[in-house]
């Protein structure tokens, strides 16, 4: 190529007119800018999901598998028969799939952060929270998919929620909110851990006690006293109880309030922690 062989000479320094650096610099990111940057990041995440549909594997297969599995295995032992166990186990599986889904949020964030594009995100004058919050907004889609599928499988197996359509919808909404809030724990983990594998490993150790040491699958009265005490304060128990109240009774009980409060506390603690360690990293 001719241009390679005979490159255009550099314009002599005294003939250049430097770009005027004078521009209005804003001292910080406004809330409005933060929201629009977060939405731009969410747009990026949905594009990514469309190109890697296997990201939906955990939120499609797991609800199908676990709902059926738990219902048929534990149904007879715990509630006498499968049909009467469904109102107990469906909210439990909902909470469990939401937790698994938000665990993946942390793992994927960690993977993403190793890529060169995160360098650019850091060098841009954008809110430090946007690269973290963006994927989490997009992940609302995943939580919703998981919740709707779980309920659908339940309905197919004979689950007839007493709370009716609105109660069921409210239960699904609460699951999505809880998933989104708890995801901040895993997002924070994603910003502190060294590798995606370690995020996965640590997340597993958090997720299993949280789901199984709760009232998700068994009535708490069967547990020894010390364990019952833990189960009572476990936020997952509150979410499960709240979802049960909404779906089975159609009632907005105190449990719903506790669940929402728990979620708010988790976000208030872990979102700033995550942003802090993200902006310090590297």
């Amino acid at each position: 190529m001719a241009s390679t062989l005979a490159p255009a000479p550099l314009v002599p320094a005294d003939q250049r007119t430097p770009t005027d650096p004078v521009r209005d610099l804003s001292p910080r990111v406004s809330l409005r800018e933060t929201v629009s940057q977060t939405l731009a990041m969410a747009w990026r995440a949905t594009k990514k999901m469309r190109r890697n549909p296997e990201q939906f594997f955990d939120v499609t297969v797991q609800p199908l598998l676990f709902t059926a599995m738990f219902a048929y295995i534990f149904g007879g032992a715990i509630s006498g028969d499968v049909a009467s166990y469904l109102p107990i186990v469906i909210p439990g599986v909902l909470a469990q799939t939401a937790l698994t889904a938000c665990m993946a949020t942390g793992v994927q964030l960690r993977e993403d952060m190793d890529k060169g594009v995160f360098d650019r995100f850091k060098s841009l004058p954008i809110a430090r929270i946007a690269p973290l919050a963006g994927p989490m907004v997009a992940d609302l889609l995943r939580y919703a998919t998981a919740a709707v599928l779980t309920v659908a499988v339940g309905l197919a197996m004979g689950f007839r929620p007493g709370g009716g359509f609105l109660g069921t919808l409210a239960g699904i909404a609460l699951t999505v909110v809880a998933g989104w809030s708890l995801a901040w724990i895993f997002t924070w983990l994603g910003t502190v851990a060294r590798t995606a594998q370690s995020v996965q490993g640590i997340s597993m150790m958090i997720m299993f006690p949280l789901t199984f040491l709760s009232n998700a699958f068994v009535p708490t009265s069967t547990l020894p006293g010390w364990l019952e005490a833990f189960v009572r304060v476990n936020p997952v128990s509150h979410v499960v109880s709240a979802v049960r109240d909404l779906m089975n009774d159609g009632q907005v009980t105190g449990e719903v309030g506790w669940a929402l409060l728990g979620c708010a506390i988790v976000v208030a603690v872990f979102a700033p922690l995550a942003v802090r360690s993200y902006s310090r990293k590297m």
């Binding site: 490159p7 060098s123 430090r128 208030a268 979102a271 700033p272």
Partner: protein, 362 residues
């Protein structure tokens, strides 16, 4: 987000400062750094670098791998915290006003920092949206940049299918969305084939003609020579020389004569001959039997060969080349660029590599 005072928008601490001037300095240098330091554990990757880049110029930072070039650039670009010293971009302090500095600098990294999962167009749209362009403007800017970087045809392919050169170009395009007055280019052509390299150089020249100030790092002397108005040579985190390309080159001669002797044991004799003839110390190459001789004038190559012939030193191969970074380094620092140079500096014997025993046999 959560109410209650935690400013999630930007955790960089700008609140404690006196009210910052809304405009950067109109007349001062584009970049000014004093005594920059970065330590990683015990290693001082950047060890007190001073730097001043004038507005509108192309400033080249030349140095071998691990000299601290990238670390320095990352500190100036707010990607790494500064451990010591001060830096200002158009008079705006880098450490305390990172958010404002980010509005003034476009960064193009050594490894293309674009999103592999998106197409070229989507990448540019995303970066435009993130920097506050309205949706339609972001689209238009993306199309415009794709055109001027010759990427229209590949615009809707994902980056995973891009060649190295295309990625670099897209990366540079992404840095130009808001037309920042200062561009950092970290080894813009490392790993590119010569043709793509030439295209990249042309693109950088066009940027400069447009009035951008450019700070670039490179391992290649010819790249710095082609592009930069002024060059700083850095090694082990320190500046070892600074000047125009001509000044640097005159310190190492314009041409290098590369010799390899048939009889490897007579390298010292050959070095003596060269020293007597030219009054300069030749450089021994890492493989035994090799000598590099800096020449102020390519015509002197013949004189050297004749002198060797007269001394009955037989030459296995001869070539004439432009000075390499190694020679610039030797001329400037008195030792080669290798990391193990200190231990070998006093040792005059040609260095055989103990980790490559096969080389000795050959």
């Amino acid at each position: 987000m959560k109410p209650g005072g935690v400013r999630l928008g930007d955790m960089d601490d700008t609140t404690a400062l006196p009210l910052p001037a809304r405009h950067p300095d109109r007349a001062g240098p584009a970049v000014s750094a004093h005594g920059l330091v970065k330590t990683f554990g015990g290693l001082r990757a950047v060890d007190g670098i001073d730097l001043e880049v004038r507005r509108g110029e192309v400033f080249g930072v030349l140095g071998p791998n691990g000299a601290g070039k990238t670390t320095m650039l990352r500190m100036l670009a707010t990607l790494l915290p500064i451990d010591g010293g001060r830096a200002e971009i158009f008079g705006v302090d880098v450490a305390s006003r990172a958010h404002e500095v980010r509005q003034l600098v476009g960064v193009t990294g050594q490894y293309a920092s674009v999103d592999e999962n998106l197409t070229a167009r989507e990448n540019l749209r995303l970066f435009g949206r993130l920097q506050g362009l309205p949706s339609r403007r972001a689209k238009a800017t993306a199309t415009e940049l794709l055109g001027s970087f010759g990427l229209e045809e590949a615009a809707d392919r994902t980056i995973a299918q891009f060649s190295g050169g295309m990625r670099r170009r897209l990366d540079l395009a992404a840095s130009l969305i808001t037309r920042p007055p200062l561009i950092f280019l970290d080894e813009p052509t490392t790993g590119l084939d010569p043709r793509t390299r030439g295209q990249m150089w042309d693109t950088i020249r066009a940027l400069v003609a447009d009035g951008c100030t450019v700070l670039l790092t490179t391992q290649y002397l010819d790249e710095a020579d082609q592009l930069a108005d002024r060059i700083a040579v850095i090694d082990h985190g320190r500046t070892v020389a600074e000047g125009t390309p001509d000044e640097l080159k005159s310190s190492v001669g314009t041409t290098t004569l590369q010799l390899r002797l048939t009889d490897r044991d007579r390298v010292d004799d050959a070095a003596d001959v060269v020293r007597r003839l030219l009054g300069e110390e030749p450089v021994r190459t890492p493989e035994s039997g090799g000598l590099n001789v800096a020449l102020a004038d390519a015509d002197r190559a013949g004189d050297v060969l004749i002198a060797l012939r007269e001394a009955e030193l037989s030459v296995a191969s001869v070539s004439v080349a432009k000075p390499t970074l190694d020679e610039v380094f030797l001329a400037l620092t008195g030792r080669p660029t290798d990391a193990d140079a200190e231990t070998d500096a006093s040792d005059d014997t040609p260095r055989d590599r103990p980790d490559h025993p096969t080389q000795e046999a050959s």
